[in-house]
């Protein structure tokens, strides 16, 4: 073959660390990891400028398997550590890997503030609706009635919806994907990385040991086409094996309806066109969950703010430096301490 490979061009392998991966066989995390290795290589990311920061839980082992910089921190606090890193080093490409327990329970507050502040982080929440590493207790994302060691008669509290939460927190980039859909994840990773500000990606992930098949009603091959709608900006939100199903907005009820083209007078023109900059639409889309609706996948919302948090902080610092320098030369601590009321003793 006659292809010239640039010496610089990295492959998926260059992003895999030398550590043996220790998730359970069949865990959805393997697929996500593999997709990430490939995506980063394809995007032309540099391992030395890429940092993965995680909290505690199965998903949070992710950094150990990346040949980038990585920091496995403490339970729930990854967004806070990542915020500090990003404030110190805005130029780095910082990813946060978390799970439904880590991000929505113990770390709910930090996730809220990272999203609200719009720190330029790519936050990946692996949602398997269960605590895996502590052996199967129900999580804040578990559905009502989930039987687990801590809820032997079934859980009674209503679950947290990750994307709805993120939107409420003020996130300006929200996407959802499925662990085994590498091609689609690649798009989400790329878009998340390009987005300046906090990007939130929920990845539906199957825990084969403690919560197997909990997402089967929309991930099984047999039902996937009918139960997944992959949304794209500017395109009608259609799904179904024959592409004859779609989402329609009802002005009477202010709700989205799942409809079939050709039935009850529904035409192609009735199908909603996805507008990823529309926050009201996003609020309707994140609320649609199976079995009543197909799972909404893809970039659900993307409306970048003028600036990200750490960029605004850096701008203030630059302004303070410029003002100080214009006033009296380079900032000098000795001068600062001698400003105001002083007296001399001779």
């Amino acid at each position: 073959m006659n292809v010239t490979v640039q010496p610089d061009k990295l492959t998926a392998k260059d992003f895999a660390s030398d550590q043996e991966v220790r998730w359970c066989p069949g865990c959805g995390d393997y697929a996500i990891l593999k997709a990430m290795h490939k995506s980063l290589a394809d995007m032309g990311a540099r391992p030395e400028n890429t940092v993965f920061i995680s909290g505690i839980g199965c998903s949070s082992r992710f950094p150990y398997y990346m040949a980038t910089y990585g920091f496995h921190t403490i339970h729930g606090r990854a967004p806070a550590v990542a915020t500090g890193l990003k404030l110190a080093r805005p130029e780095l490409d910082v990813w946060v890997v978390t799970g439904d327990g880590d991000a929505l329970s113990i770390g709910g507050n930090h996730l809220f503030h990272a999203l609200r502040r719009n720190v330029d982080l790519n936050i990946l929440l692996f949602n398997n609706e269960i605590y895996g590493l502590t052996k199967g207790q129900y999580s804040p994302a578990s559905r009502v009635g989930t039987k687990s060691p801590s809820t032997p008669m079934g859980s009674v509290d209503s679950p947290a919806e990750a994307c709805t939460y993120a939107l409420g927190c003020g996130a300006r980039f929200i996407a959802r994907g499925i662990d085994v859909q590498a091609k689609e994840l690649d798009v989400l990773f790329r878009r998340a990385r390009e987005h300046k500000g906090a990007s939130f990606v929920e990845i539906i992930q199957n825990c084969i040991v403690y919560n197997d098949a909990v997402f089967a009603d929309f991930t099984e091959k047999a039902v996937a086409a009918e139960m997944q709608v992959h949304v794209k900006h500017g395109q009608p939100m259609r799904y179904g094996k024959d592409g004859n199903k779609g989402l329609r907005f009802s002005p009477q009820t202010f709700k989205i309806e799942a409809v079939v083209i050709g039935q009850n007078g529904v035409t192609e023109n009735d199908i909603l066109i996805h507008d990823e900059k529309n926050r009201v639409l996003a609020s309707l889309l994140v609320a649609l969950r199976p079995p009543s609706f197909p799972e909404v996948l893809g970039v659900i919302y993307c409306d970048p703010a003028a600036t990200s948090y750490e960029a605004a902080v850096a701008a203030q610092e630059a302004q303070a430096k410029a003002q100080a320098t214009a006033k009296g030369g380079a900032p000098d601590l000795d001068k600062l301490m001698r400003a105001g009321n002083t007296w001399s003793v001779t």
Binding site: Q19, E48, G70, T83, L87, A88, E317, A320, Q323, S344
Partner: protein, 630 residues
């Protein structure tokens, strides 16, 4: 013997040095409602006094409520200053002068005044309902309550209202100038220049604002009142000569200021930029406020969503190659402990400032205490040692902060600074240092890819290398899971965990060889009694030991510990040179436990947890009873 009870009790004999004829130092206490501007009055008077060249120490003593209901005792705010022509080491045991701007202020404070002392009252604030509200059943001016004091009554409220008339300000605004009228009067009493206060008023209000003009007029009127009235109580202006001190440029400094500047200086000496991540909490917040204004020095400040996030963000910044700093007080420090453990495990530099306050739980947010020694030295899960350094005065915070940055970066470890509410808020004259006079300790980041792993250690300091993200060829992963000694990878190997635990301990213990040996502050390196203190009790212990030696000829020495962990390498041997050891501290025996655990020393204790600073007389009487010279 129960020295603890002695210290807490009332009815202590009057200090022999407190006689009014002994005019080398005077203690004045200003007290009023929390809305009366007492803290401003006190700090402006301190500024004038410092500029006059006196030695001084201050004690702002204010309630946790921002504006408690008017006229209540729990809403009383006070500011005490001790100033003199000799070295002043404490804010004073007993006020010689109390200025009470309302009955509640009198109620809270009159019992502490020296017998024969002067009480200045705003008689305009002594209406019947005010007197009742303060908890007096009868007017304290009439029933002999104040018979041991000289009393000067002035209707300060009426004076302030009168002087404000030409400026057309509201009655409320006019009354708020009471503090400046009082400052004018007290400035006359002690022959203080009012220039710095006038500049302050002009700066704050501008030259046109009627409120500013009313305040300026009140200040001058108070001064003129002193000059022109024949004041009752035999008051004539007192001139306090300047204290003899080392030549240099001086300023007043609070602990919060010098600590903030010390952190900035430390970062500069390390060649690093700083990220301070903090969450508002009393009495630590001023550090966040001060550093937020120093962005031009490469200082990023981050007001986090909570204490945990603040500590984690500081760790993230250190991971990124800057100096991560977090500052808080007791309850906030408790929240940070898990994250501090992460910094210990990943061996990242981190400076944690703990401005201690009364506890447990919310405790006494605005009152001082030294009760976080345990949490500083031992307060984390597992074997998790860190260096702990305590500051002993407002100005000393500068030195301590630099030392903390040096140790954190040289040994790749979190370091905790112990300050307290008293040090943070109090002010003292300070010979302004120059950063140029400190030896730099520039950080060298690791860049060599060959043979790299993140836990390569310096054979002498045992510190691991600091390799920051963005460096080609050094990509690595760290975390809270135990790491292999030889690769930094995850390891659950039993022998390795033993080795890593031992190494972390050895690294911190070894710092004892990199800090000064313990010196004796006053006295001999052996003898009958050593009084051991740490932190803000330096002043009262030092003065008491000085007095007992000079005036009563007792064989007593003062040892003040700065390095709380690891302890100075000679401390154990030094303590054994004394027949008796007395540990004086503002907690229930924490340093006492530490010293007993390390040296099996049979120390006695003088303990005080009242939220008020230790008094000279409390230490003196403890010394007397231990040396049997009552």
């Amino acid at each position: 013997m129960n020295l603890q009870a002695d210290a807490r009790g009332n009815g202590l004999p009057a200090s022999p040095s407190a006689s009014k004829s002994d005019l080398d130092a005077i203690v004045v206490r200003f007290a009023g409602d929390s809305g009366d501007g007492v803290q401003l009055l006190g700090s402006q008077f301190s500024q004038e006094t410092a500029l006059a060249g006196n030695s001084l120490a201050t004690f702002p003593d204010y309630p946790a409520e921002i504006r408690a209901p008017t006229g209540t005792t729990y809403g009383v705010s006070a500011f005490q200053i001790n100033f003199g022509s000799r070295q002043v080491k404490t804010a004073g045991d007993q006020p010689d002068v109390l200025v009470a701007l309302n009955p509640a202020a009198l109620m809270v404070n009159y019992k502490g005044i020296r017998k024969g002392g002067l009480v200045i009252l705003d008689s305009g604030a002594f209406k019947e309902k005010d007197i009742k509200r303060a908890g007096f059943t009868v007017d304290p001016r009439l029933d002999g309550t104040l018979k041991e004091f000289r009393v000067l009554e002035i209707d300060i409220s009426a004076q302030a209202l009168e002087v404000a008339k030409p400026f057309g300000v509201s009655q409320k605004e006019a009354l708020r100038a009471k503090n400046l009228w009082t400052l004018g009067l007290v400035s006359w009493m002690y022959d203080r220049e009012m220039k710095s206060t006038m500049e302050y008023v002009a700066r704050k209000f501008g030259s046109e604002d009627p409120v500013g003009l009313a305040n300026m007029a009140a200040l001058k009127a108070g001064h003129a009142y002193g000059e022109t009235h024949e004041l009752a109580g035999d008051i004539a202006p007192v001139s306090m000569p300047a204290v003899k001190v080392e030549p240099g440029v001086y300023r007043l400094v609070s602990g919060a200021e010098s600590l903030s500047w010390g952190l900035a200086a430390g970062a500069q000496l390390a060649g690093l930029e700083m990220v301070l991540a903090s969450y508002p909490i009393t009495p630590s917040s001023p550090i966040l406020h001060i550093l937020a204004k120093l962005k031009q020095f490469g200082i990023t400040t981050f007001q986090a969503e909570d204490e945990i996030a603040a500590c984690c963000a500081a760790i993230g910044a250190s991971y990124g190659g800057k100096l991560g700093v977090t500052a808080s007080s007791g309850p906030g420090i408790a929240l940070k402990t898990e994250a501090i453990g992460l910094a210990i495990s990943t061996e990242l530099p981190l400076v944690i400032v703990n401005t201690q306050r009364g506890g447990p739980s919310t405790g006494l947010p605005t009152k001082t205490e030294q009760s976080d020694l345990y949490i500083a030295v031992w307060g984390r899960n597992a074997d998790a040692p860190i260096p702990v350094i305590a500051s002993h005065s407002p100005g000393d915070c500068f030195e301590v902060a630099i030392e903390a940055v040096r140790l954190a970066t040289k040994y790749m470890t979190p370091v905790m600074i112990l300050s307290d509410g008293y040090i943070a808020n109090a002010a003292e004259p300070w010979k302004i240092p120059s950063v140029k006079d400190y030896a730099p300790f520039k950080v060298e980041f690791h860049t060599k890819a060959e043979g790299f792993h993140p836990f390569i250690r310096d054979p002498h300091t045992l510190a691991r290398v600091w390799a920051k993200p963005g460096t080609p060829g050094l990509m690595h992963r760290i975390g809270g899971i135990e790491k292999d000694y030889n690769s930094g990878n995850i390891s659950y190997d039993p022998a390795n965990h033993q080795k890593m635990t031992d190494t972390r301990a050895a690294k911190i213990n070894n710092i004892a060889n990199d800090i000064p040996e313990q010196e004796v502050a006053i006295g001999n390196t052996k003898g009958k009694l050593a009084v051991v203190g740490w932190g803000s009790t330096f002043g009262p212990i030092n003065r008491a030991v000085h007095n007992m030696r000079e005036k009563e000829g007792l064989d007593v020495s003062h040892i003040h510990i700065r390095h709380i962990w690891p302890l100075p390498r000679n401390l154990g041997a030094l303590l054994k040179n004394y027949e008796k050891v007395l540990v004086a501290e503002m907690n229930n025996g924490q340093m006492l436990t530490l010293l007993k655990s390390q040296y099996l020393v049979d120390a006695k204790s003088l303990l005080k947890v009242s939220g008020q600073p230790l008094k000279i007389e409390e230490v003196s009487s403890a010394i007397r009873s231990l040396l049997g010279s009552n």
